[in-house]
Amino acid sequence: MTTEAGSETEVKEKAEESAAQPDQSENATQETEEVSNTAEEEKGKGKEKEKEGKESKGISRYLPTWLKKQKSQSQTSPTKEAPPTEESVGKVTPEEGEPAPEVNGHAEEVEEKEEVKSEQVKEKEAESHSSTSADTEPAKEENVEESAEKSPEETKETTEGEGAKEEKKEQEGQVTAEGEGGEGQTSIFQSPLRLVRKTKMKVVVCRVALLDGTDFTCEVEKRAKGQFLFFKVCEHLNLLEKDYFGLSYKDTHEQKCWLDPTKEIKRQIRSNNWQFAFNVKFYPPDPSLLTEDITRYLLCLQLRDDVASGRLPCSFVTHALLGSYTLQSEVGDYEPDIPRPLDLVGQLTFAPSQNKEMEEKILELHKSHRGMTPAQADTQFLENAKKLSMYGVDLHHAKDSEGVDIMLGVCANGLLVYKDRLRINRFAWPKILKISYKRNNFYIKIRPGETEQFESTVGFKLQNHRSAKRLWKVCVENHSFFRLNAPEPPTKARFLTLGSKFRYSGRTQAQSRQASSLIDRPAPNFERTSSKRISRSLDGAPVISITEASRDMAENGREPHLELHSDSKVKEVDLSPGDTEALPSKSPGGSEPTLSQSRLRVHGDNIYVRHSNLMLEDHDKTQDEVLKHQASISQLKRSFMEAPPPSPPQPNQWEKRLTSSPATIRSQQQQVSLEEEIASVLFSRYASSGFYSAAETTCSIPDPTLDAPITTCSTATPTAVCSSSVPQRLLISPTTTHSATEVSVPQAEAASADNTIPDTKEPAKPPVVKTEMVTISDTFAAQKTEIATKEVPIVHTETKTITYEAAQLDGNGDGEPGVLMTAQTITSESLCTTTTTHITKTLKGGLSETRIEKRIVITGDCDIDHDQALAQAIKEAKEQHPDMSVTRVVVHKETELAEEED
């Protein structure tokens, strides 16, 4: 309080200074506004929005200038100041919502000079100076920046100590907000508290255009990651099924990009324009499978925008039908008493080329929806929208190899190629082995057709390198989301890395469905926009245009950050058939260039496709045999690929279409085994009779239920080995190893282990083997359910090995020593699994034998069903090589038990 007087005077002085320097002052004001906004948000959003609107405009103009110099400093100072001011304002003078920002500005100035000023003082000052604050603010900011630069760390410490009192008060509001954010948020909080001096925490106000046309404003630490902001938005929306959504922004080239949740926001948005749009990122092929109405509603909002903007083309009749469902959802039953209903309809935008005829048709159809609830109307809307051929297709301009203008569309099912209005080609994900880009070229490697022997590569020319990369990223993400069970882990950074490390970081659709199936809350009440829109539209406000603006942002790639990579590299992703196999082996890790300013860094190629090749390598047989074998394998793979991920048993759109066809049936049967990451099967072929190859899979699963860092889980490692003897008498010896690594829930696991063992120990006979496997998995499943939430501090490991062997007359090939011809080891890693494949070719008594051992270590959450994985691995092996039999399964289980239990 003592400082107040001083601070005020200073502020005034500063104000004068600022007047002299208009640019700076503007910047400062912007910052201050942001700060104030954050504070306001906590208290009252309405006020904030107003301020934000002003601020954002101002910010966008000036950001470039001050960013260079002031970024860190200015941000830090405002954040610090802002929180305190907010609190003080709320407590002391709640009436002064608007003046608060100004106050902040003053406060900043004060801080710079005095450092020790108290927030309350600032507030007071701000109030008093509010009128002049704008002018003064810029000058102040500069000062603050300087101070921050000089001793950012020091300021933090000092501020903490000093601001502790203030913090408590202020934080109350902030803490609630921050609770969501996590790390970034916490830091933010601290900064505000410590405000007085140059705090390190810089807070920025983000404006997010929501799907209902409104803006959501929130305060974010300047170094916060995209995820933080996204979660805040989702929380604001009360959205749980958030995996289908994302935040987009416009890069410096006005291209819409997806905000990478794992990267700092600041590094992605170049222009320091903290404006985003909340959009649907992955359009669920079957919206009826979404769990919550609120999710469907948000999807509806996105689609309405897609339709109205023309991004999702549809016929007149469809426009009318969709429009009528929108009306029903937003307005309710048709009211014949409404005077001039056409006026109402006319104020809403349903189609890019809307006319009276269409509006009349909409009304006519609306009448027929009487009695339909909003949720039902949304469902009907989605049922029709999802059938549109351009539903969820993200279009990118490109040229074909001959320079002809085309459009590339990325969607859940694959890559589509359009020329003019015609679709000239279509590559389903299963057809695509690899995607890559180099300079402004984008390549896809196509799986050979039935009659073809070689893969072919199709190249497209994008406008520039950025576009190529953006397209590549969209492909990576769409493929991962819709085709994989779990996302691939980003390649690890290594010394000399080439290529982009970018991988999809969110949950896949399969995971999302699984997660949303666990949603256990009463259907949240949410307000439909109807009231807002209609009232607005009646007021003559261009509500819809706002919405449209946000719509545009929905498409595109993401991280501008990565865009800086130099052209010389080729980035590829393996899309090998079995998504299980698809995990790209990371050869070269990509070191991400922290693009800050130097855009040019050269990176090399990344990933290779191996898995698909694997199958092709195992033969010393005649060309014919090889070809036959390959054909059958590729066929099986293809059919596998057609199948959807197993976890959510619900058929996707793709499958539904297939329903009546015989092929569908086939694929459905195989669904289970497909795309399981864990399913690793070794096939060894040898001309001689008996042979076995053992593969070990080790899964270490961290227990999700445990909050403690100790989370360890017992893992089962499934290994399946199949050996096939030449043409038809094939023995497949699958070795299943369950190794349970640290088990956080010792008791349950131990018990389960015991139970399992007896079952498993029984020697399996060729035909029986598979059945046994199933049994095993069941047992395990039971175990999983049993997993307790107890946290066990100390864990020790128990190892059990169970071997199932089919009665083999042939004997094991192991005994016979052969001549080693070739040996090869391939390692690939993904988030949850590490796959090591050893391929050895030996010559025994004139017969060549190729033995492939695959060892898979599964690491992941307890969610992963090891038993299932094992079962699937075996099943897959069985299905892929029906002519082989499983001869041996080894389950190696390592379980860590808590000492207590022992």
Partner: protein, 228 residues
């Protein structure tokens, strides 16, 4: 309005047109075989009978026009899907007038009429295969790219892909729908070539390759409109 998507196999009406006597001598031909006019008419009658009684369709019978020897092939004059009818611009000059009567008829059925007015566009309905989810348009002697584009504009809900028809008259000269999700395609060389063309891969990835060539499509055109 259960939904706008017509889907496959939901038909409510059929439009047929009589066989003019001029068919035998003046109709466009790809082969020189003799036409037994009386037999053709008997077959046509039987066909209409099946549409009416066996399939229970609402059959609209148009009178033959002697000045339009090919008028019996109503399939080529219009493409109907859902509530929309695209009046084509047949590739053969002599057949352009066939669309006039067709247009009036379809208007009477309360369909939204889209006309192909671009003089650079040609399209025969025989080149249009609708699978229930998407369109395939054969690029043949009678149908060109522009025609396919206009069709895509008329039916924006659906993806439209083109298929080169190297030999034969129409796309549907060698392939047809065998049922929901099933395309039946002939074993002839041009048919197989079209099959191999990547563009032919239908949306659901399924195509049945039968070894039996489908006979020339029936003369009549069935119009499909949503049931409800």
């Amino acid at each position: 309005m259960a939904g706008l998507m017509a889907g496959f196999g939901h038909y409510t009406h059929a439009v047929v047109r009589g066989i003019p006597a001029s068919l035998a001598k003046e109709a466009l031909r790809t082969s020189q075989a003799e036409v037994d006019l009386a037999k053709a008419r008997r077959e046509h009658e039987a066909y209409v009978e099946v549409l009416k009684t066996r399939l229970g369709l609402d059959v609209v019978e148009l009178p033959a026009d002697e000045s339009l020897p090919d008028c019996v092939f109503v399939e080529d004059a219009a493409v109907v899907c859902g509530d929309t009818a695209l009046i084509t611009r047949p590739g053969a000059e002599s057949r352009r007038k066939e669309t006039e009567v067709m247009k009036g008829t379809l208007q009477d059925l309360n369909l939204n009429i889209v006309e192909m007015t671009d003089e650079n566009a040609t399209l025969d309905g025989g080149d249009v295969l609708f699978t229930g989810r998407e369109f395939f348009v054969g690029l043949s002697k009678r149908t060109n790219q522009r025609g396919a584009e206009i069709l895509a504009d008329a039916f924006k809900d659906y993806a439209v892909s083109t298929v080169p028809v190297l030999e034969g008259l129409h796309l549907k000269s060698f392939c047809s729908m065998g049922g929901p999700g099933l395309i039946v395609i002939g074993s002839s060389e041009p048919a197989q070539k079209a099959l191999k063309d990547k563009r032919v891969i239908p949306e659901n990835g399924m195509m049945s390759d039968t070894s039996t060539a489908i006979s020339q499509p029936t003369v009549k055109k069935r119009k499909c409109t949503p049931d409800t």
